[in-house]
C-alpha cells in the first residue's frame, strides 16, 4: 500500500467497533526500513500507535484490539519523529552526495510494516533496502555502484 493511500485511514477498535483516531503519519526506523509506529490524530488519549500493537492494516481501516494502544510518544519514538517528520516531499540524497529527486510516495508491506519502494518525482524508483537515514534535510540512500 502507498503512504498516500494509507494516510487518513480510520483506526478502529475491534472490541467496541469505535473509531479511536485517524492515521496522520508514519514513524520509520531507517536501519530496518520499517514503520515502527503510526502517528494518529483525533484521538482521546495519545498520538502514536506502535506497529506491533495493531491487529491489521486493511484497505479501508487499521484495526486495533483496544483503544489503549494509542499512547504518548516516548523518547525512542521522539527521536524518530522529531527531525524526520514527513518523509514524502523530502529530498533524496545518495551516500555519494548526489541528489536523485524528492519522494513522491512510499510503498510499504501492510503485513510487516516494511517499506518496499520509494517512488521519486522525476527519477526512477529506489528500493527501500537502500535506506541509510532520514533527517530534517534529506533521506539518505545507498548509492548504486557506478556502471562501466
Amino acid at each position: 500500500m502507498m503512504f498516500s493511500a494509507a494516510k487518513g485511514h480510520k483506526v478502529v477498535d475491534t472490541s467496541s467497533a469505535d473509531t479511536v483516531g485517524t492515521v496522520s503519519g508514519f514513524l520509520v526506523e531507517p536501519s530496518t526500513h520499517s514503520i515502527v509506529a503510526l502517528r494518529v490524530k483525533k484521538t482521546e488519549t495519545g498520538e502514536v500507535i506502535r506497529w506491533r500493537d495493531i491487529t491489521a492494516f486493511g484497505s479501508e481501516a487499521v484495526t486495533v484490539p483496544r483503544a489503549g494502544v494509542v499512547t504518548d510518544t516516548d523518547a525512542e519514538l521522539e527521536a524518530l519523529g522529531d527531525r524526520a517528520r514527513e518523509l514524502v516531499k523530502k529530498r533524496v540524497l545518495t551516500s555519494s552526495g548526489d541528489e536523485l529527486g524528492t519522494v513522491k510516495d512510499i510503498d510499504f508491506d501492510t503485513e510487516t510494516g516494511a517499506l518496499t519502494t520509494f517512488l521519486l518525482d522525476g527519477a526512477p524508483d529506489v528500493s527501500a533496502d537502500r535506506l541509510i537515514g532520514v533527517g530534517s534535510y534529506a533521506v539518505v540512500v545507498r548509492a548504486e555502484p557506478h556502471g562501466s
Binding site: P30, R83, A84, L93, T94, S95, S96, G97, D98, E99, I132, G133, V134, G135, S136, Y137, A138, V139, V140, A143, H146
Partner: protein, 196 residues
Amino acid sequence: MRLMRTSEITQRAVVTMAGEDIAQIKDVVYAADGGSVSGFTLAGRGLFAGPLKEFLPWAGVSALGADAVMVRDESVLASAPSILEGSGGSAGSAGDVLGSQVLTEEGIGLGTVHDVVVSVDVTGGEYCDVVGYEVEASEGLGTQGQMVLIPLPDTMAASGEHLMVPSSVKDFVGHDLAGFGAAVDRFRAHLEDSRP
C-alpha cells in the same frame, strides 16, 4: 576520478548519513607543496549563520558529490588547525588564492585566478588534489580576457599573492573541463620527461 571547480564546492551542504545538514563548506584548504586538499572550513546553515569554529578534514569526508558533501556524523569535524586562524579565511584576505596572479618562473604574468580545479576520487576516501587554475588570461597567454584552464604540476610554489608555474604550462592550456583531465596528465608526463 572527477574534475570539479572549487566554486561548485563552496557553499555546498555538509550532510550526515542520518540526513542532517550540519554545516556548509566555506573555504577549500590545500597544501602549497603537492596541492592536496587538506580539508574545508565551514559556515553555518541559515540566513543568520556565520562561519563555524569547526574544520572538516579531508579524511572525514565520506563522499564529495554533485549536490552534497557526505560525512558519517558530526564527530568527524575537528577544531580548526592553528595554521588557519591567522589568515582569517574570508575571500580576498591573505592566503586566498582567488584573485591572485599566476606567474611563470620567468616572471611573466599569465592572469589572475578566477577558480580552482580539483580532481576528486568519487568515494572521497582516496584523494582530492588541486590540478589546475581557471584564470582570466593576461597578454602573457595571448588570449587576453578569456577564461582558460592552466594545469598544475604535482609540486609548486604558492603564496597568497603569486602562484608560480613552469613556463611550459602555456602549451597545455585548456578551454573546458571535459578535456582538461587529459591535459593535466599530458603536462605532468611532459614535466617528468624533461626532468634532467
